[in-house]
């Protein structure tokens, strides 16, 4: 759907030319004279006391300029942020290196070796002798809740970080009066975000200014929090997110290395660089998911859901990072899905374990919520021998019910869930698929059709842990020649804001997209902002640009009217030119208005010079994209292999600004979601060693492992922002996991298999069928 000449158009990305020619500059591409390199010594134990650290040999090694341990950090650094404050939350302090003599996960940073070359730093890091006294560790979050479990943070006295409850109605009564209850225990396994670019930090202290280049999604937050960590006034800190090679939430954090490298640059007076290795990335950058859910769904014979009970135990890992508790609490908020469930109760418990911390990873709590409710709906359908489609239809929140408040407290803005479902079914030819399935089963072939209908929440803003509320900043600056510079507080890493935000400005001001440049990621260039995450870019960041552009336009009209000696209400514009209505000869070009705005000798009385507006956009409410994903798989019961036959996604992200980019977001999202279903999963041994420690063992899909996707949309604009957009960065991931799992379980239904633990690898299929005579 084309909304205007610029909005809704398939416009090629303006960031691409530098990226496809190898000219883009990522952190590791920065090099400065005199720069030194950091290698970090990390704990090989999941839980241990440090008896001693001997850095003598490392200090003597060729090229070494400094070796830091916790003692140095204690003397020079303040703490790092530890998450949004939740009522009665207990979170330990964290620092750039372990300062209290206890390591709590494999990968916890113990010492930093700084040398003149990367090779020398790496060589010398092998010479740091750390004497550990291993302690009993706890890996399983449920075990961590047991009395007598090893306690990670002695001063907290418990492994429980927080407990939150959500809900409304009368759940006990609903269950008592229900005809059927289905129950399941779901393990939503840990995932590794694995952005293709690992993290990296370069810092330089020069002329009273600390400049930090970091691969982050939130440069402004890094700047504010670094002030405390490196004990420097905030206005002396300049943070730059250069080209960022993917994040998916893993760079929506403030990490110890950002503080460490900055503190080293201050202390050494030389530029300092640290580039994370992939192995470090797997143990020292946050993991995603990690939740155990006990789900009970009560319903009547006709399929009407009466009540939902959820107990979610979140594996937080060893520390609370920037937003750690905010992830599982999203699950509590969103667990009712697209359904009118009158009685619901969700308890969410965050638990520390001796593992890498978890935090926001693409979807951040909503995939977990969607997965649990969509699995429960399929279990209910199976129990009632109903078609999964019909059970969903029966319980959808009807279009007329919006805005709709769920018992868990979310207020859904708008939606038409059945329309998206119908579109997917039609496109798939659902009836024909079911017929084919029946036919193939007779031949001993197992086709499965999986459906997931989802609703998610986007436009999330900064909660208390970040530097502000749910807002974003934008500046639209018309230069004196009529060209436009946009500054955005969002900080893209592949989303294409340089293109979509130029489209918004082009739509509002009528200037060609080529006349707009969008700058981001530099805290000296851009007004304070929040960042890019939670599918907020378009609904929040884009809306900020929209409103700023509107204000610019209003001012331009006033100036034009003044120049043309007409009333502003009588001015019409096509963007290039302002004309007095009814007098086409009385007109002035946009670029002349811009020039006059700065020449400033002929402005309306009292008007400030310039054509430059900064707007901080605060959305009225959050917005709720939705859709239906339908997946068709074939399962080989002998080998356990799953093959994709088709994948159909109908997503409603409100108005679409650039279909090319929306499709890209959905494609990538689906692959990460289906990867959770059948490929990816973190495995630790019972002593907390990460066994999936490389790309050789942690199975990220390649082009050959995934199908092509058939995409479609419904469009239900959000009433809460001027663009009517809902955000689309995470939708694919949220819809895909349950769609794929439901498809596999549908294929295995003839074998009596009701549930399977993700990732559903060939071995898990085989294990489920093992002992089942039908499979032999």
């Amino acid at each position: 759907m084309v909304i205007s000449h610029a909005l809704g158009a398939r416009i090629k990305r303006r960031e691409d030319p530098r990226l496809i020619t190898g000219r883009a500059i990522y952190v590791d591409d920065l090099n400065f004279a005199g720069m030194v390199h950091v290698a970090i010594v990390r704990s090989p134990h999941a839980h241990a006391t440090i008896r001693s650290i001997d850095t003598t040999a490392a200090r003597r090694a060729p090229g070494v300029v400094a070796v830091w341990t916790g003692e140095d950090v204690k003397a020079r650094c303040g703490p790092l942020p530890v998450g949004p404050r939740i009522k009665e939350m207990k979170a330990p302090k964290r620092f750039p290196l372990v300062i209290d003599g206890v390591v709590r996960h494999v990968g916890d940073p113990v010492a930093a070796v700084v040398a003149t070359t990367m090779d020398a730093a790496r060589d010398a890091s092998d010479l740091v002798e750390v004497d550990y006294e291993p302690l009993p560790s706890v890996q399983d979050p449920e075990a961590a809740l047991e009395p007598g479990a090893p306690i990670l943070h002695q001063d907290l006295g418990t492994n429980v970080c927080f407990r939150m409850t959500y809900g409304g109605g009368n759940v006990e009564e609903a269950f008592a009066g229900a005809d059927v209850v289905v129950k399941t225990r779901i393990v939503q396994q840990r995932l590794i975000p694995a952005a293709m670019e690992t993290r990296g930090v370069v810092a330089q202290y020069k002329g009273g200014e600390l400049t930090v280049w970091t691969s982050t999604q939130i440069p402004h937050v890094v700047k504010t929090t670094l002030a405390e960590t490196v004990r420097l006034p905030e206005h002396e800190i300049h943070v730059i997110a250069p080209e960022v090679g993917g994040g998916f939430g893993s760079k929506l954090d403030v990490y110890g290395e950002e503080g460490l490298v900055a503190a080293l640059a201050l202390a050494l007076g030389r530029p300092v660089k640290w580039i994370e290795s992939r192995r470090e990335n797997f143990i020292a950058t946050i993991h995603g998911r990690g939740q155990i859910d006990y789900v009970e769904l009560a319903a009547h014979h006709d399929g009407t859901v009466a009540g939902l009970r959820v107990r979610a135990i979140a594996d937080l890992g060893a520390y609370s990072q920037l937003l750690t508790p905010g992830v599982p609490t999203n699950t509590g908020l969103m667990c009712c899905g697209c359904y009118r469930i009158p009685n619901a109760h969700a308890e969410v418990i965050g638990v520390f374990t001796n593992r890498t911390p978890t935090d926001a990873y693409r979807g951040a709590g909503r995939p977990e919520a969607t997965f649990l409710i969509e699995r429960a709906m399929d279990l209910l359908a199976a129990e009632l021998k109903m078609d999964p489609v019909e059970v969903r239809r029966k319980n959808f929140i009807p279009p007329a019910a919006f805005p709709y408040k769920t018992p868990t407290g979310a207020v859904y803005d708008s939606g038409n869930y059945e329309r998206a479902l119908d579109k997917a079914l039609e496109r798939a030819d659902y009836r024909a698929l079911r017929d084919e399935q029946a036919k193939l089963r007779k031949q001993g072939r197992y086709l499965g059709i999986g459906i997931a209908t989802y609703v998610e929440i986007t436009g999330l803003g900064a909660v208390a842990g970040l530097s502000g509320g749910n807002w974003e900043s934008a500046t639209v600056r018309v230069e004196p020649t009529g060209k436009v510079t946009v500054l955005t507080g969002t900080s893209p890493h592949g989303q294409g804001e340089e293109t979509t935000f130029a489209q918004i400005v082009s739509d509002r001001l009528g200037v060609p997209v080529e006349d707009v440049v969008v700058l981001h990621g530099d805290t000296r260039a851009v007004p304070h902002g929040v960042g890019t995450f939670g599918s907020r870019t378009t609904p929040v960041g884009g809306s900020a640009v929209y409103v700023a552009a509107e204000k610019v336009k209003d001012k331009a009209v006033q100036i034009a009217a003044h120049l043309l000696e007409a009333a502003p209400a009588d001015i019409s514009t096509d963007g290039a030119r302002f004309t007095v209505r009814g007098s086409p000869e009385r007109s002035v070009e946009f670029k002349d208005v811009a020039r006059m705005a700065y020449k400033a000798y002929k402005l309306p009385a009292g008007m400030e010079p310039g054509l430059d507006v900064t707007h901080f956009f605060v959305p009225k409410e959050r917005v709720f994209p939705f859709g239906t994903h339908l997946c068709v798989v074939e399962v080989d019961p002998d080998t356990g292999e799953v093959t994709f036959r088709r994948y159909i996604a109908v997503d409603d992200c409100g108005n679409i600004l650039n279909p090319l980019l929306v499709a890209g977001q959905i494609h990538g999202g689906i692959v990460q979601g289906l990867a959770q279903a059948i490929y990816e999963g973190v495995t630790y041994d019972d002593e907390g060693q990460l066994l999936t420690g490389t790309f050789a063992e942690y199975v990220v899909p390649q082009a050959t492992d995934v199908p092509a996707f058939e995409l479609d949309h419904t469009v239900t604009p959000s009433p809460h922002n001027p663009l009517g957009a809902k955000g689309v960065g995470e939708a694919g991931t949220i819809g895909a996991t349950p769609a794929v799992v439901n498809a596999i379980l549908d294929a295995l239904a003839p074998f009596g298999v009701k549930d399977l633990q993700m990732p559903i690898t060939p071995r898990r299929v085989w294990e489920a069928l093992e002992g089942n005579s039908a499979s032999r």
Partner: protein, 145 residues
Amino acid sequence: MKVEGTYTLPASRQKVWELLNDPKVLAKATPGIKQLDPLGGDTYKATIEVGVGPVKGTYAGQVSIADKVPLERMTLKVEGGGKPGTIRATGELRLEEQDGKTIVAYTGDAHITGLIASVGHRLIGGVTKQMVGEFFKALENELKS
């Protein structure tokens, strides 16, 4: 990583027990042990070189014998640390004599940390089995000599 099995040695229980308690034999039979220095009791300071094809690592640590019930059972413990991480292995050996031969039943558990654990996981099982085999084969050779 757990291993278990049995191995039959062509000698009396008395003879096997003596061998297992002889630090020189232990040093020779335990794969990778380059040096064994007594630290008192049944504990020895050890330098262990584990080499599987091109993968080589040197670990400094201790070998000790515990839970001794003469002629019946003992626990062999190996602990060491090196660049690629740490190794902690315990093996319980139970001896039983049958027709002049000794059947050694073993259960072992090895904990490996660091790089080897995450990179070499797929090979650890096979290599552990291989090393246990080498250990008994070396004991058998000792009996022959």
